[in-house]
Symmetry: D2
Subunit: 334 residues, 4 copies
């Protein structure tokens, strides 16, 4: 039996990371080639990993590679998904699918038509701690879910240039949390109330975005999820999920950089929380690829196109809620 071959499209920060992980730590996948519109970027990654550079995305689609990982800029996602689907490739697609729901639907229709496997890159589902929280719900330890709290705070804001094209905090940051809310409750979101502010950096406000937000979701099963986001938690990358229910509570706490403790007359000092998302989430990315490989075998991908679409609709409702100062039903926007 031969390995699955895969090409990585887009060798920016996230694409480069995926290429490296696939090449070095995913034995069941063979890195076939990489492509980027910035050829230098693709060549640097290829040189490091010893794989080919594809001349174009079209060349990749025309090749005999089994799968593609689409890690390019968001505005190219849908066309690449359609092309990959038509070429019969298995698809791994970084989030978001698109910022436009009609475009999302065009991509998903192509995938469905072609019958190719598709997995959306919501890596946090594969974080061991978050996954254990979801498992605690699934195995009944938490009972009926009554309330969920998700904290998701970046250590520092991205460059203002990025903010301007990110689609806004709800599409850029909170989208992961909308996915997490659906994942741990197993229930769709029906209503959204969002309140937001510019507290970290006025330049973010001038760029038309916010940097501090609280979002309350009401789920079909009556569970209430509260999400809080900040673009800047000076103490590190704060990522916690808490599910409360009739039977108990499951929480994923932040890890620490290491486990040393210093005890002095004034108390005890612990090491800090990892600062960078790669430090925190590398195990989740590896588990994500393992799940992709398993999904190819079983025919059941763990994060589907529907899972990619739903958070976009919730994000639109959140943006409208924050703007209009009222709760917004998801079916108003989607």
């Amino acid at each position: 039996m031969t390995n699955t071959t895969i090409a990585v499209l887009g060798t920016g920060r996230i694409g480069k990371m995926h290429a490296e992980l696939i090449d070095r730590q995913v034995p069941a996948l063979d890195l076939h080639s990489v492509f980027d519109v910035f050829a230098d970027s693709a060549h640097a990654v290829a040189a490091d990993l010893g794989c080919d550079v594809a001349e174009s995305a079209e060349h990749v689609m025309a090749s005999d590679v089994d799968a593609v990982a689409i890690c390019t800029s968001t505005d190219t996602h849908v066309d690449l998904v359609v092309a990959a689907a038509e070429a019969g490739k298995a698809i791994f697609l970084e989030k978001p699918i698109s910022l436009n729901l009609a475009e999302v639907d065009r991509a998903l229709a192509a995938v469905e038509m072609a019958g190719v496997p598709l997995q959306i890159g919501f890596n946090r589902r594969f974080d061991p701690a978050h996954a254990a929280v979801q498992q605690a719900v699934a195995n009944g330890s938490v009972g009926d879910v009554h309330m969920v709290r998700i904290t998701s705070r970046d250590p520092a804001p991205p460059p203002i240039e990025y903010i301007k094209v990110s689609g806004g905090i709800f599409n850029d940051m909170t989208i992961h949390d909308f996915d997490m809310a659906r994942f741990v409750t197993g229930s769709e979101v029906v209503q959204v109330y969002a309140t937001a502010a510019v507290r970290v950096d006025p330049a973010i406000g001038e760029a038309g975005d916010v940097d501090t937000a609280v979002v309350v979701l009401t789920h079909e099963n009556e569970a209430i999820t509260t999400i809080d986001n900040s673009r800047q938690a000076v103490y590190g990358y704060d990522q916690r999920v808490e599910v409360f229910g009739s039977g108990g509570m499951a929480v994923s706490e932040n890890p620490r950089s290491h486990t040393a403790e210093i005890h002095g007359p004034d108390g005890t000092h612990l090491s800090n929380i990892p600062y960078f998302f790669l430090e925190r989430y590398i195990p989740s990315y590896l588990a994500e690829w393992s799940a992709f490989v398993d999904g190819l075998k079983s025919g059941q991908m763990p994060v589907t196109g529907k899972d990619g679409r739903a958070p976009l609709a919730i994000g639109m409702a959140a943006a409208r809620s924050a703007k209009e100062g009222r709760p917004v039903r998801v079916d108003e926007v989607a």
Copy 2:
């Protein structure tokens, strides 16, 4: 120098506790007498503690006692405050002052007129962990406050008979959290969004109340507070406060019944969270009395009449918000 003498009015659960604490663990206060409309209750407490039983509240007010602790049922609070103020007594008053803002104002006017000291019984401010969170804000460790999270979940619902007369979850449970939000931010609340459900027991809904609630507060200083309440956390009395700001984060976590840890092949088991509010908050009640004594000396009471009034207005806005499904400004209701 002689001690301050104090009479306790109302010897139900909370009044009895205060009488015992005062008698046994507050050296600067002498328990003078107790009173309750159920004379048997007052006599039992008096026999245990070796103090007098007052014939009536009027007798207390006419006596030479220095201070009164008003722990009677809510509907009697205002008249007793007015009487105590007119009699020149220092007043400790259990929350809530009243469920009616006009009545609250009548009580506070009498206190102001008489110039007597008044302290409202928001004991959680004196919990060592919550107080340390507030201190971290006050000393600048947290920087500007951006977001607050308060979790307040009872281990089990009260009797339905109590639910029916409690004034609703926002006046009964969340009132402590509204106070905590003002305390740790040092900023007034201007807007409230509340969403609630009946998840624990349908009988609570039939009694006209809810048992699960999420409330989002917007403060004058732009901080956003999220409160979540449940009438039933099966794992214990869950009481946490988290303040996030430009400089860091301060959190009060739940204590445990004891510090033993059992390590086995399947992981580590820790003891449970204290189940009963008295187990958790006894140190806060003691510190509250210590602050009362200090306040009598300094002339500055630590929890003022204004602090007693504000949460009631927030609670009214919350109730309206939950009913009307929209954010409500506090100045709409007060």
Copy 3:
């Protein structure tokens, strides 16, 4: 049914504490009287608690009091035990029984002859966390016990005057740990190796004692216990017990003053460990009295005369081991 009456002999630090606890927080015991050779001390305690002052220990023994708590200086213990036994009183005796084994045996013989209940004041057995560790052994969670680690470090050394009469670190501090080793293993100690040093204060060495010690015990059941002691842990009163066995590990960790955590760019700061033994062990003293009351009913005292004697013999072996630089069998000294 009437309560058990009890007299407290000795109103120094520990006797005063017992008198207060009995009076205020042990409903099943009535504090009858107190006695101290320093009459002022006894009168101050009696005035505070509203009990009688006995003229002499003899008067106590001649009275109709049901029980006595012997909290006087160690050199008076044996005579008082003998007198109390002959008077038919139930006896609570602070540790150590005596520093002389022949005297210990004289006391225990008198108790046995009289058939009166006797409980030795090894309060740490009743600490909720240490007790949970012992329970984990008793219920099989730890399996066969292979190794025990006991850390017992005071926050600061006692006055040099006390050091001079304390009987040495092994009789004064480590005696609690010898008891704990027997308690959690359920097995007698057969051999002791001790090594010690003067590291905290040269004056302690000049007074003929040490301030830093490591003791290795070999138990009958082959378990090995390691104890480490210091007269000065600047970060607080460090009291931990760890039992390791074929089935797992049970540990009692140090509690903290409160549960607030401050998170900043450099890491997380926790509150300190309680500094004073009373802060840490009050719950254990209360549970000790509860066990005394239960023991009077059941006829089975939880900490027996044998439990009081064994640690003294281990301490003698430890002192000889530290002096001679070799392991010493307990049966060499006792």
Copy 4:
């Protein structure tokens, strides 16, 4: 500037790991070739990593490779070190250097004569938590070191065949702890007391070894180190270091597999401790290679030949102590 090239000798479990780490995660080193007396093992590793297979160790020494990592069986270490030194290679050597001190000295003499860099593979010094403990000592946070506690327990015993040739628990397991004791105290060991037992598996005793041991070390600076070892901790790979001194305490606690916590009526459940040494110590191996690279540049290797020799002498003293039942000075054996 070109990278340092390195050959790995020995492709058993540890050598294979080093080859993989060097190839994939140490950018400053180029994996030149691998060698093993079992050619199939070397070929498998080479095929996976895309490097050469050396025909013999002699071929490696004769090649132009800059450095060698000696990961072969202990009995071949000294000859390989001598050969590498004579060939002018920088040397990374897995512990122990040899079980024979005269042989150790022959190896170190060859290294000194040749003036080549040598680093001994005591990886635990590079574990982030243990290193933070040592840093706390080095920067004065702990003050003068009074006592050290090292817990080192394997999750399960190795095969009996391995036990038979391991040189005994003190040379095989405790050697790491002897190194840690020297590392965190910065002080040589002058005396050893060891007590040991067979508690895990009688077959270990029949093979002439023990599986449970407690060792007390006295350092030149008067610090006392206690080490406890077990061949089987069913709850995971238990690796802790605690340094106590005049200024405070620094501790490295065990990490957990993940940070989820499940709260229920009976308490809180945490995930287990990593079971396998590779899970726990991979970051330390990476940091070890980084230190090797830095050492080549600075000319100061972080773990020297002397550091490799000292624990062997301590281990001999420990073995003699356990056999003879008395403390043994290190200068008796070395």
